[in-house]
Symmetry: C2
Subunit: 349 residues, 2 copies
Amino acid sequence: MASQGNRVIRVFVAGLGAVGRRFVGLMARQEALLAARYGLRLVLVGAADSSGAAVDPEGLDPLRVVAMKEARQGVSAYPAAGRPGMHVRDALAASPAGLLVEATPTNLRDGQPGLDCIRDALARHIPVVTASKGPLVLAYRELVAAAERAGARLAFSGAVAGGLPTVNIGRRDLAGSTVLRVEGVFNSTTNYILTSMAEAGTSFAEALAEAQRRGIAEADPTLDVDGLDAAAKLVIVANSVLARPAVLGDVEIEGIRNVTPEQVAAVRREGRVLKLLALAERAGEEYRLSVRPTALEAEHPLARLRPWEMGVRYVTDTMGVIYAAIDEPDPLPTAAALLRDVIDVCAGR
Amino acid sequence: MASQGNRVIRVFVAGLGAVGRRFVGLMARQEALLAARYGLRLVLVGAADSSGAAVDPEGLDPLRVVAMKEARQGVSAYPAAGRPGMHVRDALAASPAGLLVEATPTNLRDGQPGLDCIRDALARHIPVVTASKGPLVLAYRELVAAAERAGARLAFSGAVAGGLPTVNIGRRDLAGSTVLRVEGVFNSTTNYILTSMAEAGTSFAEALAEAQRRGIAEADPTLDVDGLDAAAKLVIVANSVLARPAVLGDVEIEGIRNVTPEQVAAVRREGRVLKLLALAERAGEEYRLSVRPTALEAEHPLARLRPWEMGVRYVTDTMGVIYAAIDEPDPLPTAAALLRDVIDVCAGR
């Protein structure tokens, strides 16, 4: 590998929020590891945020981009390379990107601008790594078909519960078996809120504020609280793992907005634990999908999730019952999930 | 996919013990699923056990092979195709196999006959799927290099804790991060024994007998009891996930042979749980490897494993802490792990 030199991957990063900027940081932080272990050299040829974009075919300095974002500057203020007001699609079109990392804010209404960015990249035969749920929830089958036609990979392991490899386990490790039931605590913010309320008597408002402070809550926290984020992830699991053409409207959704401290305490007195449970139950050849606050028995593995954990439990016919959980107290593992997908796309096998 | 027809994979199965025969059963049981979901048709062109072999380029009947094994017949009694006394290497050499599934009994002394079968297959550019630990423990680097030279896959996700995707998670889902610590309960037999002793007051002998009855204990149960099976799995994790050239001699091993009911009860009174813990702790750039009975705090996720469960906990630098567990009350999930690897090798991505 050393004698061949490293493979250069020109990366365009759309979105520099909590996850996007940490991915850019990892590009710098893991530079030596990426070269030594995987023979990869990632070059940041473009980046975009709400201020516009910055493009440089020779590569932007990832650490400079991160510093600017931490100083609350838009990336379009990047010297020379900055393009104030430039739309992300135009920046992507203007860049010699070999891979798109899509981390724009969740938009479950129309999936934009992420959806168009992904379409544009695939149309150019550019592989896409995304943690962005909107495009997958609104246009899963279209995007998978576009990727296949283009001969380009579309990877999204970071889209369902951050660094937790929910989709990877479901698709690769359960291959050849049939999933009978999926139970998930897919939303970190609501898990933190419910756990804090039950164990520390924290108020709903205080707990939500902590999740926002850590960058874990969605830019629009009602997505977390009203169960939409969890439902979006369940839809992605349904499409990618269960191979069903599900949409958000197929999910019965009840969030935690109306959960009171009294209810939490009452569940606790019964020896049970309240969690916002995403559930896919097999019914014949189909699955019933739901997200709702659910009282789990104390011994249920998901009942024991700590405040910043998320988990998934797959009940199968031939592969037993597989459970996985992640402790993710900040957005870094989600950014790391984007990086593992980049490695998989560029150097997998 | 339907218009292209299914891809035919000629499979040779070496070893028809608890796992091998269940894999053969899955070839039949999952025939429709394999065709519909993955466009694959598996044909059993040869199989071998301690009686000899059976070879048929047109394909043996998997269900007939399973029935013979359940009736305690050797596969060499298969009508017409049977070859009493034929050595597995000769049977493999004589068969038009396109893929070797290697499930011979664990042999940590010299890895045979599995090791030579794998070498032979790779030399013929035939991909290998194995659940057999001996070859990987004794010759990991040689086999990986041989696979690379041959341009053939060597897959072994079923070799470390049955159906639990320990290696897959470690290699694929933690790619780009650094593993700081691995904690595993990798041996189902000893977990069942310790859990039964602690919770039900079952004697060591009774619990071991139950593990043997279910086909979960190794053919030679001292491999389980003396910690060798767990150590072998830790060595495989060290080589494949931690990228360290470890051998069995690098592991400090203490099994559960000397664990008494009194010790189990004493640990329990302290509010802790005794588990046979496989551990890799990072020390500088290297890892210290050990397997020993360990008293875990009650809240440790591995402490809560139920009798037939196995689990792994990966502590990383950028991917948080990821935990996975499987409930595997019989050997079927290990056979299903062989099948998922076959799918990955033949139809992956």
